[in-house]
């Protein structure tokens, strides 16, 4: 691509103006393909998905608009709790998973960061241990966790062998509890990363502030509660955004860990979308659920990005 480099001296006069014009436009020409790709394959495709959600597409896309029937069905399913519809299960799971995943990751991440920030020997060994799950695919870690949580093989059996025979842990096979196993594996995967974010935040705090608090006689606990944690507010915000968006996007974890759980009881909306679109031939419903996912993420991300970019521009 650099062979287009424009360094040859130009002799002919009309060419000069063309060359200058080209030179001026070059940056935009370079950026244009990427921007066009984004417009078409992101925004165009989103509109396409929105359009499909208003048709009655089944196995193949159909382009006759039939109104918001897919949304009406999803709306009806939202309240169909007995027996639960797949959509009801998916959004209830999303609520449970989203809340616990975000809350536990934040709490655990902060705790680990504070512990590591106590002038620990071996920090260089511990930090990578907490963080490596983030480098692995959910499919890989799902294999490990599946085995770990399997009543006949993993933790339960091991504790039985150690003599604790009354120990019972079959959440992964229980349709009411399977979503909590997804929380465990999800927290294991992401909390180390949140720890790294908090640790970076802690290390960025001005030591003068802490010295001042120290001189005023604050105990370590007070120091953290009153001064350090409030100072970490921007990190909390970033971590929350990251976690919320990862939670809504979670898909592979459910597939790898539970294959959807007994009767689809571990589904999240992302799994619902995939199954309805590609397996159950309900393309319009799948599209409508994708649109709802997108709107949920946008409600969180757009204000955040907007404020970030605005701040940057100032």
């Amino acid at each position: 691509m650099s062979s287009i480099a424009t360094t040859q001296p130009v002799s002919a006069r009309p060419a000069v103006s063309f060359r200058t014009r080209l030179q001026d436009a070059l940056p935009r020409i370079v950026l244009a393909p990427s921007f066009a790709i984004t417009l078409v394959f992101v925004y165009g495709f989103i509109l396409w998905t929105v359009y499909l959600s208003f048709t009655n597409s089944k196995t193949f896309p159909s382009y006759d608009l039939t109104g918001p029937r897919a949304y009406e069905r999803l709306w009806r399913w939202t309240f169909e709790s007995d027996p639960p519809s797949s959509w009801y299960t998916s959004i209830v799971n999303m609520g449970i998973f989203g809340f616990l995943y975000i809350f536990i990751c934040l709490a655990l991440g902060l705790l680990l960061a504070i512990l590591l920030d106590q002038k620990i020997r071996g920090e260089g060994v511990l930090r990578p241990i907490f963080l490596y799950p983030m480098a692995l695919s959910f499919i890989v870690t799902g294999v490990a966790w599946k085995w770990f949580l399997d009543p006949g093989l993993g933790l339960e059996q091991t504790l039985h062998q150690f003599g604790w025979t009354s120990f019972h842990f079959d959440w992964i096979k229980n349709k009411d509890f399977v979503i909590y196993t997804v929380v465990i594996a999800g927290v294991w995967q992401a909390s180390g990363f949140i720890m790294a974010m908090f640790l970076a935040g802690l290390r960025g705090i001005d030591s003068e502030i802490m010295k001042a608090a120290q001189i005023d006689g604050a105990s370590p606990f007070q120091l953290y509660r009153r001064i350090i944690i409030p100072l970490l507010r921007p990190v909390f915000l970033s971590a929350f955004i990251v976690l919320a968006h990862m939670a809504i996007k979670s898909y592979d974890l459910v597939v790898a860990l539970t294959s959807g759980g007994p009767g689809g009881s571990a589904w999240l909306p992302s799994n619902f979308m995939y199954e309805y679109t590609f397996k159950r031939n309900e393309m319009a419903v799948g599209s409508a659920s994708a649109v709802i996912m997108l709107m949920t993420i946008s409600a969180i991300i757009v204000p955040y990005l907007y404020s970030e970019l605005k701040e940057k521009a100032r």
């Binding site: 480099a5 495709f45 996007k249």
Partner: protein, 318 residues
Amino acid sequence: MSSVASSAAGLAHHAHPGNRGRWINRVVIYSLLLIFAIFYLAPLFVMLVTSFKTMDEIQNGNMLALPQSPTFEPWVKAWGETCVGLTCAGIKGYFWNSIKMVVPAVAISTILGALNGYVLTKWRFPGHTLVFGLMLFACFIPFQSVLLPMATILGSLGRFGVTLQDATGFSFGFGNSTVNLVFVHVVYGLGFTTLFFRNYYEAFPTELVRAAQVDGAGFFQIFRRIMLPSSLPIIVVTVIYQFTNIWNDFLFASAYAGTGDAMPMTVALNNVVNTSTGVVEYNVNMAAAMIAAVPTLLVYILAGRYFVRGLMAGAVKG
């Protein structure tokens, strides 16, 4: 940075009255850290030891025990013999599929990201914030919202490929699953790579670029001679980030190459693990999972610092 931290932590120490309280405090901190370290290491440990055990030992032994007579058999079998769906030729072919997909996808998206970042910081034009904002938002969309249209487009490209094949005897990559996945990963990775380079070049002194311009250097010359030589850190960060993401992707892979010979590693692994016929060979499954994990683990071990930086850059925007 770390000196600030240590002085801060040092301060926290002095606050403790008495040596005894401080000692207990230390013990509590170290035990907690140790317990958590075990929690984080346990799955990898179990995976690793199980992959070296015989089936006999797995059924009768303890999950946490070290293998009595370590065997490479499961690894050999996972690599070359285990069944993925109906074909029983191991996962090696799928491993190479992933490599063939990852290398071009990472290279192309990184180069485009570098150019985009360069334009968006050093050759600004009216509306550059909007352009960047739109590309940035693309990083956060749930891919479910583009999955179906992309499937439709890839389907028609595939039919076009067949036509080409009939007409010219060569499909030019149209309809090839690996090519499709490279394309998809480049398209949906552009936002991230652009973000990384933009934020990096933002801090790069614009005066240098202007000075080179005055000296008559052109757009690409400045990029090649001035920007690129100082971009190594961000290139490493971007390559690692993209490599990990694309290697680990499952959604696109299963939607666009979910069956057949072109499956990437993650899809093949999921198939191996979920094959329900016959006795489940846990040791082979674990070995296959380890093989799938090796590339990203290796990257993490060799360049963990850059890996973390990439995650941070993707998390803390602006």
